[in-house]
């Protein structure tokens, strides 16, 4: 059953589409739709696009390059990631994999970004494409009507002002009050949420390049787990920008609350850690921010469509932590592209009901983003394994210590050293087997 939009005596629509939130997902949706000739308003509560938005900082950029072919040259990207350093970081030791590869720069696969700059640029691209960008306006709620197939979203309300459109796009971020208001999203369980705390630390470009062993516009992304978060599930990161470093921790809320730890004390501990501090020395903090992170993967993907409305980006729960890569912005791009496909079809077919908008869901799940969500569906629960954040890092460093600590006693074969370290560790064989098996299946 489809209900035509043009029922009698309906107030006129101000726009074809209202997009709420000028982040990556909202901007891409608006940009694509304007390019298809639809009238689009992009409403942003900050002073300008980007002023409310914060990311850790790595954007896997192949998707956004399909939208903007000159993205790497035109957009305010910071550095091109060629070095990924994954580390178990204990109190006094660290064991990591330092993966550096020239192929990651040709073609460029990931870049660091600062959202205050990136989203401002995306907002400009939207304006150039004909989107009406409306900053400084907070949407208070959506306007709904009862239609033949249930509640239908017909617009938004801010203060006394109302705007009506054939489709509303909720791109209002992880807290999406809009999606919650219409029942598309429930309050999320704490094991699916984390809080990210971050500083941007200014340092001379040359200092960053020498500290991180980079040349030109190459960049490094460090991901750390273990003592750096005082055993709380989550991890820390160091990302190089052109002349600053994004440094932060991400802490799973169920674990943080259960352990009664303070997020800022853990962040302080991280910044002062002997592994981290030397990278930041003499730097100047230019900004301090935080962000609620959705970590549930496919489980968190809520209802993403209803009559007259769809949900994109983080508002839809589109984030993915695979243990090695942490993704959000690339999924936001993919959902924006898919949303524009679905909305264009709905507008052309003159049916913006849930059924008419189904092209969004189809396009999303046909894209790499939807497929990756399914592939990594088990990753979040695997990453809740507490041993990841304590025992495994200690165990690894004890094996390495046994190898490198030549203490004038006769050497043993590596297998024997490892077995001894393992015997002393609280990790049991069954843990290794179950975690190893789960890890292979989940990641």
């Amino acid at each position: 059953m489809t209900a035509p939009d043009t029922a009698a005596a309906q107030p006129e629509n101000d726009f074809d589409v209202i997009v709420v939130g000028a982040g990556v997902a909202g901007c891409i949706t608006a940009y694509q739709l304007a390019g298809q000739g639809h009238s689009v308003v992009l409403i942003e509560r900050g002073e300008a696009p980007g002023s409310k938005n914060l990311s850790g900082g790595v954007l896997y950029c192949r998707g956004i390059q399909e939208v903007f072919p000159d993205f790497l040259d035109e957009a305010p990207v910071e550095r091109r990631i060629t070095r990924n350093y994954i580390t178990f970081l204990n109190a006094e030791s660290s064991v990591g994999i330092d993966y550096k590869d020239a192929r990651l720069a040709d073609p460029v696969n990931a870049v660091t970004v600062l959202r205050g700059k990136l989203d401002a640029w995306l907002g400009e691209k939207c304006e150039e494409a004909g989107v009406f960008v409306m900053p400084g306006v907070r949407v208070d709620r959506v306007l709904t009507e009862q239609g033949p197939t249930g509640t239908r979203v017909v617009g938004v309300k801010s203060g006394d002002d109302e705007l009506r459109a054939r489709v509303v796009v909720a791109a209002d971020g992880v807290n999406s009050f809009i999606a919650q208001e219409v029942g598309l999203r429930d309050k999320q369980p704490l094991n699916h949420l984390a809080t990210g705390v971050k500083c941007v630390v200014r340092l001379p470009k040359e200092t960053i390049e020498s500290r991180f062993a980079l040349r030109g516009n190459e960049g490094a992304a460090f991901a750390l787990v273990g003592d750096c978060t005082q055993g709380v599930g989550g991890g820390g990161f160091l990302y190089t920008n052109t002349d600053s470093i994004s440094v932060g921790v991400v802490l799973r809320l169920d674990d943080l609350v259960a352990k009664e730890k303070s997020a800022t004390e853990i962040f302080d501990h991280f910044l002062a850690h002997p592994f981290i501090a030397p990278y930041l020395e003499d730097g100047e903090v230019t900004e301090y921010g935080c962000h609620l992170v959705a970590e549930g993967g496919l489980d968190m993907l809520g209802e993403i469509d209803m009559d007259g409305m769809i949900v994109v980006g983080e508002a839809a729960g589109l984030t993915l932590n695979t243990g090695l890569t942490v993704r959000g912005m690339d999924l936001a791009v993919a959902s924006g592209v898919a949303a524009a496909v679905g909305i264009d079809a709905a507008l052309s077919g003159n049916d913006t009901s849930k059924a008419g908008l189904a092209g969004y869901r189809d396009a999303l799940f046909a894209s790499f983003a939807g497929k990756d969500l399914r592939t990594y569906a088990k990753a979040p629960s695997f990453l809740e394994t507490g041993r990841m954040y304590r025992e495994y890092g200690e165990l690894l460093s004890n094996v390495m210590y046994g190898v490198f600590n030549l203490d004038n006693r006769p050497r043993q074969h590596l297998a024997a050293v490892a077995f001894k370290a393992f015997r002393k560790s609280p990790v049991k064989i069954r843990h290794l087997i179950t975690d190893g098996f789960a890890g292979v299946r989940a990641l």
Binding site: G46, G50, L190, L253, L256, A263, L271, G289, C290
Partner: protein
């Protein structure tokens, strides 16, 4: 060498680096003290807030410094249902990230 790196500023010192457009007329956060007390969620709210917006007072109530809020929504996620009324500040007000 035991020199403390410059990076370890206090939370207020870090916040002072940010740009805020303070809404002097309206707080975007309200606390239901009775629910905070009965649920015992005050400590979790205080601990999870990176901006130290919340303080547990001697009498057990939760006080709020809304001007420091970084608008992440973590407090709402850990609060007992009804303990906090938390919405975004009015359009154009609150934190304005330059870096993000």
């Amino acid at each position: 060498m035991n020199r403390l790196p410059l990076i370890v500023l206090s939370v207020p010192e870090r916040l002072a680096k940010n740009r805020f457009e303070l809404d002097e007329e309206e707080s975007h956060i309200q606390v239901n003290q009775a629910i905070v007390k009965s649920s015992g969620c005050g400590k979790a709210i205080v601990n999870c807030c990176a901006a130290h917006v919340y303080t547990e007072e001697a009498d057990g109530t939760l006080s709020v410094e809304y001007a420091a809020c970084l608008e992440c929504g973590t407090c709402l996620a850990v609060a007992a249902p009804g303990a906090l009324t938390w919405r975004y500040p009015r359009g154009g007000f609150g934190i304005q990230f330059r870096e993000g």
